[in-house]
């Protein structure tokens, strides 16, 4: 292990103090990438949550809850055009101010290496989901050039998974500048690049943030129609 390279926090550059103890001496411990203060600011999604999108129920009003679904998912599932495409979404952390800052730095400033912060958490989740194919939500060609990398592919690659680029995106305005209804009533923004047999395959879509679920549902629909057995999704933030 290269001590000079590994002992600073990827996010705040503070030195990381290693845990000295019997465990550290006798076992191969995974390398610490961020300091405990930063890790402590990441809030895991725990407790009771929506059966489809993992939205935690504890912070939301009863009236936005429909049984084991959140109001948003209920509305999606109620619509025959969208029913059943996205089987389940998993999100690792709550999209709090701290994570907002990290994702902005990662995605908009282009600090690629921050993807590593999430690798261990991603691996753990993906071993539970056991998908056959990992599909990152694509960027349009123009946006990809502008950013230099696709954030969803980066998350996968850094965690050691090979992304399958099954989708391409038609260039449009940034998602974050649109309202919910604009996002939902958008025509299909993705295209399927048919170079792989999808029939019977369990697909996981990967993206950085789950906001309205519109992006993921559009992609899920396309993949299901192309023959995927099931489509689940995994995002860093919710």
């Amino acid at each position: 292990m290269d001590f000079s390279m590994q002992n600073r926090c990827l996010n705040c550059y503070e030195f990381i103090l290693p845990n000295i103890g019997w465990r550290a001496i006798f076992s191969v411990e995974k390398e610490q990438l961020i300091c405990q203060t930063c890790e402590g600011k990441l809030e895991r999604i725990e407790g009771e949550q929506c059966r489809i999108c993992s939205r935690p129920f504890q912070n939301i009003d009863e009236k936005f809850r429909r049984g084991d679904l959140c109001h948003d998912c209920f509305r999606w599932e109620e619509d025959p055009e969208w029913h059943g495409y996205l089987e389940r979404n998993y999100s690792l952390f709550l999209y709090n101010d701290f994570l907002k800052e990290i994702i902005a730095k990662f995605k908009f400033r282009g600090d690629y290496v921050l993807a590593k912060i999430f690798s261990e958490f991603l691996k753990k989740r993906l071993t539970e989901i056991t998908p056959d194919i990992f599909v990152p939500i694509p960027l349009s060609k123009e946006r990809l050039y502008e950013r230099g990398f696709n954030q969803a592919s980066a998350i996968l690659l850094e965690a050691g998974y090979q992304p399958n680029h099954l989708l391409s995106r038609i260039h449009s305005e940034k998602q974050s500048k649109k309202s919910r209804s604009e996002r939902i009533h958008l025509p299909q923004v993705f295209q399927f690049l048919p170079d792989i047999q999808l029939a019977g395959k369990k697909v996981v879509l990967v993206d950085d943030i789950y906001t309205t679920g519109s992006t993921l549902r559009h992609a899920a629909k396309l993949l299901k129609e192309a023959g995927a057995a099931s489509v689940q999704s995994l995002t860093l933030a919710r």
């Binding site: 600073r8 400033r109 282009g110 600090d111 290496v113 050039y145 990398f149």
Partner: protein, 498 residues
Amino acid sequence: MRFVIKNNVLIPGSNTDGNSLPISDIPSIPQPPQNPNFPYNNDLQLLLTGKQLLLEDIPIAFQEVQSHYENGYITYRKGIHYEGKKPVCTRCGNKDPHHFASYPCSRCGETCLYCRRCIMMGRISECTPLIGWNGPVPDTILPSKIKQWQGTLSEGQQVASDHVTTAIQQNQEHLVWAVCGAGKTEVLFAGIEAALAAKKRICIATPRTDVVLELTPRLKAAFPEIKVASLYGGSEDRHLYAPLTIATTHQLLRFYHAFDAIILDEVDAFPYTVEESLQYAAVQARKPNSAMIYLTATPNQKWQRECWTGKRAFTTIPARFHRHPLPVPKFEWCGNWQKQLQKSKLPPNVLRWITARIQSNKQALVFFPHIPLMEKALPILRQLDPTIESVHAEDPNRKEKVQQMRSKGIPLLLTTTILERGVTFPNIDVAVVGAEDAIFTESALVQIAGRAGRSKDHPDGVVTYFHYGKTEEMVKARKQIVLMNREGIKRGLLDDKK
């Protein structure tokens, strides 16, 4: 981006072309000769003169940028270059391997190294060209009268002002060591006027946005017909070409060989002292033959030594413009105040000091070394007066609280070192609780003491350092203040007390 060299000119190449290379891998970048018949774009000229920008910062199509390069009006430099095998960020000078990372880049199709240290100004990687101007400099038309400011300078200010003007005219370095409240800004006006009259481009750089925002209107009032660019993160003047620029030190990273004179304010302060990239930026931003004026109230030990041994040209302004001496801090031992605070108590002498201010209606600032301890002290003190407030860097209501303190809505404000400089309250006393903490350096303590006795009507103020063991820094701080007062008397810059 990838490029190929054709006929000794850099041409953009595609990712699939085996002959093309990311810009940092090209051994030397050819500079085409200037074509005098080329109709260059004036907007580009204004945007790029003295700058080093990324393509993303330029709101003009790449083809046009490229044709300016091919005709000799634009320079391309490597975003990252190598010293031997070691990568160096050309913009911020970073050489520390901790601050580099790499990624599979979709622009050049390779694993591309990028600099993490200056990433807030846009990412610089091995395939990023830094774009600058190589054509004629925009002409500035001078008004008949440059300076409108009519005020008078104190004797101390006048001496400094003359030295600054000479240094700017002769492209020298000069340090102005002026006590808090000496009136540093006015000292600059004559020098700025001389620079502008000689059609020089001049910049005042300061570490903090607040100061940029405060200085801009003052300089615009002093030089009403001169265009002033006010630069900080997110400012609107980003693309403005102006003979007079006021910028945060960070913004200097976007400049290259731009200024004939740079005035660096608060050189002793964070982040300038800590972030090497800012010192590098200041050097990059000045022309090779240019003047550099340093302003500070508290030069570090090294600079002080250089001053006293004649290795650094400097001028002191040892007295405030109101001709009263600086309040000299008193030291008071207060025992283990942290332990007391854990038990929700304050040392009796600290409590006595605070109670006395509240009873006599004298506003006060009380400094604490850390936020958690300050937050512990707040409820204790609120028993004396419920309107007491505390403030720190991440406080969302920071501005409002400072404003309230100014308008006398708060009797006592607890603060971290965030208010150590830059803010002026007319009539206050100042205390430091835990002055032995490492965060209170000589310079911080001098600045803190400098908060008291600022106004002409209330030139006196009490400054007390409560400590649990006197430190070297405290002693040095007091010594510096005493020294300045003594010099003020010697040079006849202080009035005798009646």
